[in-house]
């Protein structure tokens, strides 16, 4: 029985993993494959995508026809359970606008005056249940940004260190895409990627338009099975030394079907065609018999012995509201960057008054998100196009990787780091808000004319979003609020946030570029480009690429972790989520979180084998 109540834990475990998402799922998976006994603690409820996903349900019978609300900011059918920008009973603290006082975060939509937006989910599998599944590798430049432009922080590892782990993760989770050999946009090893789906009509139009602008448009990399995985060979490749995991993975891969090119991945996937920790990482790990999971377990702090070694964690059993303690040789935090930092800062034994693993004072520091700015346009050539099923993989089949590395290196740009462009549009399933504003767009039409107009305009809108790299700065960090506690009695986080001119200029550049693309498609922008970067940029945290806060480095004086995510101060304590990131390349972080977690866990296993931990 791998899902256990808090009263049924073993006397002790080899490793406790806090969190069950991309990082926790990957970490526990690698540990279980190696025969290590793992206890996973998840703050949310148990969740099963196979039985809970509304696969073909239509907005017709959804509340408010499925539109986003404060309860479900990504729409009714979004897989997120118990979370969002606001988690009941678990506040966080921000500033609003120019105010200097701290207030509880309230907002669940944009625009917002909040200094930071913190997205959490409280469910098994965490945010992997609804993530965008864009799986872009960081490139060589991305690990050594300071060497390139003198800003930010270099990683204590480079692309070559992570490349084999990218291959492993892509093989394990299944990623479609292509190898284009573009600058700082790494190829996967041959045979790793699944074939990408064909582009949609609007994607082909964007590609043609971008060719005139010198912007590459290439197949996206997405963690969706465009075909079934090779269950005979991949398990052997990934786990040559673990027959048990080979068997467990083979069985799980057999249950994963290929995409049926329908229904949105953000709902989850009952046929396991996309990546969710709950369908990809956890089932084979559980099948080895080496993993126990306790859900509704809200971790408060790491316990430490007199020698300064981690001994386990204290958590609140949410159902009984009881405080419990579990023990292990090693503790791995994988609770999300900020939540892991919160646990460390709330762990204050006598010898670590400023928080655990925080002798550098860097826990909570260098919080980063992705720079986001967007623009929509209407494309007349798509009007009255013959209907066809354009659902596809529900997310983008094509994207635009950053294309101006050389201009930046030559000092020709007024911002240092790159961005890629994501886009969506076309003939997607309508929800209750799809046609909002269309009557006004059509000049106030109603009646039979309105129906004709809607036939003409449906499917002709395209939205573009720039997703750019932020340079870490001293003004962006989280810390423990001195007064406020959550409903579990755990002190909460408050967030400091300030974009620098690097990000603001980048956002303004995005606006200009996105307008150019729309116009090159023969389209018209729905609102003029916002060239004031301060206004063009989405608020911090809104892209939900929360990384930083437990930075890795080469020097214990200015970093929390070494290159293997091991705390300098506490040898048997690791952090494997987005926290160790010291830069946040424009490449969406989840794939790198998993690759980095796998590498860190391999190191952890080796240290355990050597008896060093």
């Amino acid at each position: 029985m791998p899902f256990i109540p808090g009263s049924k834990t073993k006397p002790d475990y080899d490793v406790i993993v806090v969190g069950s998402g991309a990082a926790g799922g990957q970490t526990a998976y690698v540990l279980a494959a190696a025969g290590v006994k793992v206890l996973m603690l998840e703050a949310g409820r148990r969740y099963d995508p196979v039985s809970e996903t509304p696969m073909f349900n239509t907005t017709h019978y959804a509340p408010l026809r499925g539109v986003a609300t404060s309860d479900k900011p990504f729409g009714f059918f979004d897989a997120t359970v118990g979370g969002g920008w606001r988690v009941p009973g678990e506040p966080y603290v921000v500033k609003r606008g120019a105010a200097t006082t701290w207030v509880e975060a309230q907002d669940t939509s944009f625009p917002t005056e909040q200094s930071f937006m913190w997205w959490r989910s409280r469910m098994l599998g965490g945010r992997t249940n609804h993530w965008g599944r864009f799986s872009f590798r960081m490139g060589e430049y991305d690990f050594k940004p300071r060497q390139r432009d003198g800003l930010g922080i270099d990683w204590p590892l480079d692309y070559r260190d992570l490349a084999p782990y990218y291959d492993k993760v892509e093989r394990l989770i299944g990623v479609f895409g292509s190898n284009e050999g573009l600058e700082n946009t790494p190829n996967s090893s041959p045979g790793v990627l699944l074939p990408p789906p064909k582009p949609r009509a609007y994607e082909l139009l964007a590609k043609k338009a971008c060719a005139q602008l010198g912007i590459p448009v290439i197949p996206s990399h997405v963690a969706i099975l465009s075909q079934r995985q090779d269950h005979q060979n991949i398990p052997k490749m990934l786990h040559p030394d673990s027959p048990a995991m080979q068997k467990a993975l083979t069985e799980n891969m057999k249950t994963r079907l290929a995409c049926m090119w329908a229904t949105s991945c953000t709902r989850g996937c009952s046929i396991k065609a996309n990546h969710q920790s709950t369908t990809v990482h956890l089932p084979p790990a559980l099948a080895t018999g080496n993993l126990d999971i306790i859900t509704d377990a809200m971790v408060r702090e790491v316990s430490v012995d007199e020698a300064g070694r981690a001994t386990g964690v204290y958590y609140v059993d949410k159902e009984s509201r009881q405080d419990r303690h579990v023990k292990a040789r090693v503790v791995v935090l994988a609770a999300s960057g900020c939540e892991s930092a919160r646990i460390l800062l709330n762990s204050k034994p006598a010898q670590f008054r400023d928080g655990l693993a925080n002798s550098s004072g860097k826990v909570g520091r260098y919080l980063m998100d992705t720079v986001g700015s967007s623009m929509s346009g209407q494309i007349p050539i798509l009007e009255n196009a013959p209907p066809y099923n354009e659902d596809g993989a529900s997310t983008m089949h094509m994207y635009m990787p950053w294309w101006k590395y050389q201009e930046q290196a030559a000092g020709k740009m007024d911002f240092p780091r790159g961005y890629h462009i994501e886009f969506s549009g076309g003939r997607a399933m309508p929800d209750g808000a799809t046609f909002s504003g269309m009557g006004d767009f059509a000049g106030g039409s109603y009646g039979k004319k309105f129906k004709e107009d809607m036939r003409r305009y449906y499917g002709t809108f395209v939205s573009f979003g720039g997703r750019g790299e932020m340079v870490p700065n001293d003004d962006c960090y989280c810390e423990i609020d001195p007064a406020k506690k959550d409903t579990w009695g755990i002190p909460v986080l408050r967030f400091h946030w300030k974009w620098s001119e690097h990000e603001e200029r980048q956002a303004a550049h995005m606006q200009k570029t996105l307008a150019e693309i729309i116009e090159s498609m023969g389209g018209r922008v729905l609102s003029p480009p916002q060239l004031d970067g301060k206004k063009a940029i989405y608020p911090g945290g809104s892209i939900i690429h929360e990384v930083g806060t437990t930075c890795m480095g080469t020097d214990p004086k200015n970093s929390v972790l070494n290159q293997f995510c091991q705390a300098w101060d506490v040898k048997n304590l690791f952090v494997t989520d987005g926290g160790p990131f010291v830069s946040n390349a424009d490449k969406n972080p989840t794939l790198t979180i998993m690759a980095n977690a796998w590498r860190a866990t391999d190191y952890l296993l080796e240290e355990m084998r050597k008896g060093n931990i």
């Binding site: 509304p54 969002g84 009941p88 229904t263 109603y446």
Partner: protein
């Protein structure tokens, strides 16, 4: 879809609730109706996603019978039947509009007073101009009013509020209509079916967009 009357508040309660939720009422006197009924909750952060939900299932509806008659007539002025699809009322779009303006979420609550007041205004305008209920007017008479309010940027100053109402009401009518199977068919949404492979746009589409 249904319009099960048991899901609806008693008329007086409904009016009270609508009015109490609005801070910007100009047409009626709040004081006559006393305190607000307690506000309902939303569906929360862990709703059953596999359930079928109908208007009135999650929170009580708002519109009175008279307002429903007005709304039904206006829906059909916005989306009448034609040779491709039925009128909005045939797809119970009014139930969706009522669900929307009754929802406990801020954006919907902000539109509630606009819609209810707009419907009240529409009735009084019909009586003023044609001495009859909006639902009883001829299409020519209905259009005479709607032409004055269908496009806010060009509406005369005295119709500013009514035009704001019409814009929201048209959005809601379209939102309710185009999320039904008949609405999908009308605009040519042909997805949400399982496929063994994704072929991309067919030749007719490629020709249409000049890529073949």
């Amino acid at each position: 879809m249904n319009s099960n009357p048991t899901h609806r508040l008693p008329r007086r309660e409904a009016i009270k609730w609508v009015l109490a939720a609005s801070a910007t009422l100009s047409l009626l006197d709040l004081r006559a109706f006393g305190a607000a009924a307690s506000a309902p909750k939303g569906y929360g952060l862990d709703a059953n996603l596999l359930e079928t939900y109908n208007p009135g299932d999650l929170w009580p509806l708002t519109l009175t019978d008279a307002q429903r008659r007005t709304a039904t007539a206006l829906c059909d002025v916005v989306i009448p039947a034609d040779d491709k699809s039925p009128a909005a009322s045939a797809l119970q779009v009014v139930d969706f509009i009522d669900e929307w303006i009754s929802a406990p979420y801020d954006p919907q609550q902000q539109q509630r007073a606009t819609v209810v007041n707009g419907l009240i205004w529409l009735e009084s305008e019909s009586q003023k101009r044609f001495k009859n209920a909006f639902s009883q007017l001829s299409p020519v008479q209905q259009h005479a009013i709607c032409d004055d309010i269908c496009f806010a940027p060009k509406a005369a100053p005295e119709f500013t509020s009514a035009a704001a109402f019409f814009s929201i009401f048209r959005d809601l009518t379209a939102g309710g209509f185009y999320t039904t199977p008949a609405g999908w068919k009308d605009i040519g949404y042909v997805g949400n079916v399982a496929l063994t492979h994704f072929d991309g746009p067919p030749p007719a589409v490629l020709k249409h967009i000049g890529l073949m």
